[in-house]
């Protein structure tokens, strides 16, 4: 057996167990963001207060639909739902419509969303860099979109 290297078994569980969110709320993961929703609607899918949509994935509710830049998805009664006089937006149904992958742990109330294909269409067709926002070790936000006018090399590596 070769000597073990690049092993960090101590990192398997160095974390103190903690609640993901208070009772009655939900957590959404998307592009590195962890968003805690203080409430959600009852029923299938993930019914969120429509005001959270922009914070989660950049889409905004407008008269013509749920819109991000030039892309607008018309709203229907599967996306925008009335319950006891309140309006909810079904984020899971929206993901299905956009072919956006997601994995939900319903028992824990956590929904993790993958990339939205429509937001990356320019990369797959014209080789345009995707919208990507990272936070560096100094806490500064680095947006690929802000690097226009410069050449950039983005390299992944790992300690392992």
């Amino acid at each position: 057996m070769a000597k073990a290297f690049m092993a960090f078994p101590e990192l398997r569980n160095p974390f103190v167990a903690k609640e993901i969110h208070p009772e009655g709320s939900a957590t959404v993961l998307y592009q590195g963001k962890t968003i805690t929703l203080s409430e959600k609607g009852d029923g299938d899918g993930l019914l969120i207060n429509p005001e959270y949509l922009r914070q989660i994935n950049g889409f905004e509710i407008k008269p013509e639909g749920a819109c991000f830049k030039d892309l607008c998805i018309p709203l229907n009664d599967e996306l925008l739902i009335e319950q006891a006089g309140r309006q909810w937006f079904n984020l899971a149904a929206f993901a299905d419509l956009l072919d956006q992958p997601y994995v939900a742990d319903v028992a824990a109330g956590v929904w993790s969303f993958g990339e939205i294909p429509a937001k990356r269409a320019n990369m797959m067709v014209d080789a345009m860099a995707p919208d990507l926002e990272l936070v560096d070790r100094q806490g500064e936000v680095v947006r690929l979109a802000d690097l226009k006018g410069k050449k950039a090399l983005i390299v992944t590596w790992s300690s392992w």
């Binding site: 092993a7 960090f8 160095p14 994995v103 860099a129 680095v142 050449k151 090399l153 992944t156 392992w160």
Partner: protein, 213 residues
């Protein structure tokens, strides 16, 4: 990392941005000291959720994208080694990496769009990995596992990391990231078995680099 710092200093161009992103769920504890040892002046990111890999459909490290002044990708998804690395001695000695990438990068700096290493959009889009619906879903499962791990819920963390590896068996990132948490680490027997399995089934450990020697 020291090699990338040297290259960054040699290029010494205010209009060149180097971003090195550690795909490391171990966070600062795992990747921070390696960055610090290189005394880096380039942009350093500790990318616990492997967001850069998700954004560019990378499945292994090191991988990279060249992005030009207009935001267009002009090379993508290669085993981006800054040099040939040699580790170990005697019959344990291994070498990996390449010496052709650095001169290609410097040629791009010098010649811009006229560099022979700049690829047209059709080549680049052809080189971007096409992931199935399951493979794309794997990234969401991985991030879900990460959240559970950070919250100290190890069983669910393991469950969703396994789901991620099952959904995208081409991801070396997922397999080796998980192995870091084992006693044998990411370069032990299981890693060697995985490499043999990749070779046996014709899966690329890296997409072939099309830079001539």
């Amino acid at each position: 990392m020291p090699v990338w710092q040297r290259i960054y200093e040699e290029i010494n161009d205010p209009d060149f941005v180097l971003i090195c992103a550690a795909q490391d769920t171990g966070g600062e504890a795992a990747a921070g000291p390696i960055f610090d040892a290189a005394k880096p002046t380039f942009i350093q990111v500790i990318d616990e959720d492997h967001l850069v890999s998700s954004a560019f459909n990378f499945v292994n490290v090191p991988s990279a994208a060249w992005i030009d002044e207009d935001g267009r990708i002009v090379r993508i998804d290669e085993g981006t080694y800054a040099k040939v690395h040699e580790l170990g001695v005697g019959d344990q000695a291994i070498s990996f990496g390449t010496n052709v990438y650095e001169p290609a990068l410097k040629d791009w700096m010098a010649n811009g769009a006229q560099s022979r290493y700049v690829q047209p959009a059709a080549t680049v889009t052809g080189n971007i990995r096409k992931l199935s619906a399951d493979q794309q879903r794997a990234d969401a499962a991985f991030c879900l596992g990460n959240l559970f791990r950070r919250c100290g819920i190890g069983a669910k963390a393991d469950q969703y990391w396994k789901m991620a590896a099952d959904l995208n068996p081409h991801s070396v990132n997922f397999i080796r990231q998980n192995l870091t948490l084992s006693e044998e680490g990411s370069a032990g027997e299981q890693f060697r078995a995985m490499r043999e399995e990749f070779e046996r089934t014709g899966r690329d450990y890296y997409r072939p680099m099309d830079i001539e020697n």
